[in-house]
């Protein structure tokens, strides 16, 4: 009885799964190529449409269930012309104030491919297939446990030694030796009698205290390595390292102004209107996707963006994001970014270090006067294609008897250039 039931269940299962597989293969072979469809969709449609969510245009997942194939083709190829002959199309156009462009370059086969990709079953399978690869990639590394284990082992070894010596003493096996007091007394007697040793010790003490004292005094006011906690856990590594966004895309003021600029939130929104979640498998320190999505939400809270409706909330009281400034010159030293970025053409990394590798930015350079000046002394100025000042440059080179003039020789070491 039991076995018969099981058998029928198994055969049922087998039948449905075979039917399912058959259905999928039928789907793929009959209509279009979903892989090519994905490529085309990402290239042409994904700017305004997602599969599962409304964006500028409506969600396109399962669009073939809602509209006929021929209707979709006419709409995609030229929706403006189609609206004139089809009342349904006119209604569809009222979905959004933004007009959809025409895609005359897509062939019938290509549109079929896209439609194939938007079918719910196919898209889910492709997404599932790609996400398993991502999950396997990055595992966060955490060494704290290792350190704690090491410490425990160390303590245990100490305890074993201690026990061993106590056991030895209790057994009466301890060797006869001088007491510690006697030993100390003999060492002290030898030391007290040696005048030369006294002299050496005093010299050593003076030199080392002078060294320690001066190194302490010299590091006051130097913030190398300063790494404050920022209001948003923003990773430069993800933005400029992994995604290769240029530094100046966000710090756009660097090319024209004294300050390199804290990017206003509208620059963040240029990308984050579209990107409301971090990619699967993203990790910063111990924080995974769930925590990091909340960090993007902080940006939306600051500017008043509704990520579900994809619009700014009207009448929202915007809040500034209070970033903590890391690189801070004292008020009596003048520094201008545009002079270094635009005129000298320096890379940002020259002073700020490998920011594109930092999840959390820290001050890379000491920003001391010595550091400024040694760079000015070493850096040769690029005089090519600067005909206007040719004569002056030649005279300068003659005056110093050099071929290439350094920034310092151009006046980059005059006090008044930076202190006034």
């Amino acid at each position: 009885m039991k076995s018969a039931k099981q058998k029928s269940l198994i055969s049922k299962l087998a039948f449905t799964s075979i039917a399912f597989l058959f259905l999928i293969t039928l789907n793929i072979s009959a209509q279009g190529d979903a892989v090519n469809g994905k490529k085309l969709f990402n290239m042409n449609c994904a700017g305004c449409h997602k599969l599962d969510k409304d964006l500028v245009g409506p969600a396109l997942g399962g669009m073939s269930d809602r509209r006929e194939n021929a209707w979709l083709k006419s709409w995609i190829k030229d929706n403006v012309a189609f609206q004139k002959v089809d009342s349904d199309a006119k209604e569809a156009a009222e979905y959004s104030p933004a007009a959809m462009p025409a895609f005359p370059q897509l062939s019938d086969q290509e549109i079929d491919d896209i439609i194939e990709y938007t079918k719910p079953v196919v898209a889910e399978e492709m997404v599932a297939g790609s996400s398993t690869v991502v999950v396997a990639a990055a595992e966060p590394q955490d060494n704290t446990l290792l350190y704690i284990l090491g410490a425990i082992v160390f303590v245990l070894i100490l305890m074993i030694f201690n026990l061993y010596s106590t056991v030895n003493e209790l057994k009466g096996n301890a060797p006869k030796r001088k007491t510690i007091e006697e030993q100390l007394k003999s060492i002290w007697r030898a030391f007290a009698g040696n005048k030369f040793l006294h002299f050496l010790l005093v010299i050593f003490f003076l030199l080392s205290s002078a060294y320690l004292g001066f190194s302490y005094l010299l590091q006051i006011g130097v913030d190398q390595g300063y790494q404050p906690i920022q209001p948003i856990e923003f990773s430069h590594k993800i933005h400029s390292g992994d995604n290769k966004i240029d530094c100046q895309y966000c710090h756009s003021a660097a090319k024209h102004s004294k300050s390199s600029g804290i990017p206003p939130a509208n620059v963040c929104m240029n990308c984050h209107m579209n990107i409301a979640e971090v990619a699967d498998g993203t990790v910063i320190g111990n924080h995974g996707k769930e925590v990091l999505n909340k960090e993007i939400q902080k940006l939306y809270d600051a500017v008043g963006w509704d990520k579900d409706k994809l619009a700014y909330i009207e009448g929202y009281e915007k809040k500034p994001i209070e970033w903590v400034r890391i690189h801070n010159l004292p008020d009596f030293a003048y520094f201008n970014h545009s002079q270094h970025v635009t005129v000298a053409g320096l890379k940002c990394q020259k002073c700020h270090g490998p920011v594109e590798e930092m999840d959390e930015v820290y001050q890379y350079s000491p920003l001391t006067m010595d550091w400024c000046i040694s760079c000015h002394r070493e850096t040769e100025v690029d005089m090519t294609e600067n005909g206007y000042y040719k004569k002056i440059h030649e005279q300068l080179a003659n005056k110093y008897g050099v071929k290439e003039v350094t920034a310092a020789q151009m006046g980059g070491m005059e006090c008044g250039k930076c202190h006034y």
Binding site: C48, G221, S252, N274
Partner: protein, 182 residues
């Protein structure tokens, strides 16, 4: 036994001392803070006199940037876009177009999505962060509409007017046209 307890306490103390590196989270001491800290309000600093507490202010509506030639008279709507597409012309003539600079500006501000060749295959598209970026050649656009989109953005592209000056926007427009024609 006492010895063992002492050792354990010592080890714990050392671990605690090593684990809290407060030093890098706070700025260092300064010799004379009143010479280091500016007296005036700093550009990106806080200023309690203005709402919502920042020194930076938005310019008054209708402000014309220094060096800009005219106010932008097309509004952010489909009609504005169509008008700009037909009527808006670049003030730069051939001699004003700086080939090297327009390319470098394009590379910094556009190529992440639109690709160095303008084919919509930038790094962000390749990483599947931003999708659906068209090839410039597939779209019916004019220099007027390119400039308009730089000003206001379009669909999922935001405005880039805060990152580029008027003249730079026209330089970028010229480079986009060059990519379209090649």
């Amino acid at each position: 036994m006492k010895k063992v307890i002492n050792i354990i306490v010592l080890v714990i103390l050392v671990l605690v001392a090593a684990s809290c590196d407060r030093s890098k989270r706070a700025p260092n001491l300064q010799y004379m803070p009143n010479m280091y800290e500016p007296v005036g309000y700093e550009t990106y600093g806080a200023n309690p006199n203005f709402e919502p507490g920042m020194e930076e202010r938005l310019p008054v509506t209708g402000t014309i940037a220094r060096g800009a030639e005219f106010t932008f008279e097309y509004d952010a709507s489909i009609e504005g876009y169509e008008l700009a597409k037909i009527n808006l012309k670049s003030p730069l003539d051939l001699a004003d177009i700086d080939a090297a600079r327009s390319k470098s500006l394009y590379t910094i501000y556009c190529a992440s999505c639109h690709g160095t060749k303008g084919d919509g295959q930038g790094d962000l598209v390749k990483n599947e962060k931003f999708l659906g970026v068209p090839n410039y050649k597939d779209r019916d656009i004019t220099e007027g509409s390119i400039y308009y989109v730089l000003m206001y953005g379009k669909n999922m592209m935001g405005s880039h007017s805060s990152q580029l000056t008027e003249e730079e926007r026209w330089q970028v427009t010229a480079y986009v046209q060059e990519l379209r024609n090649n």
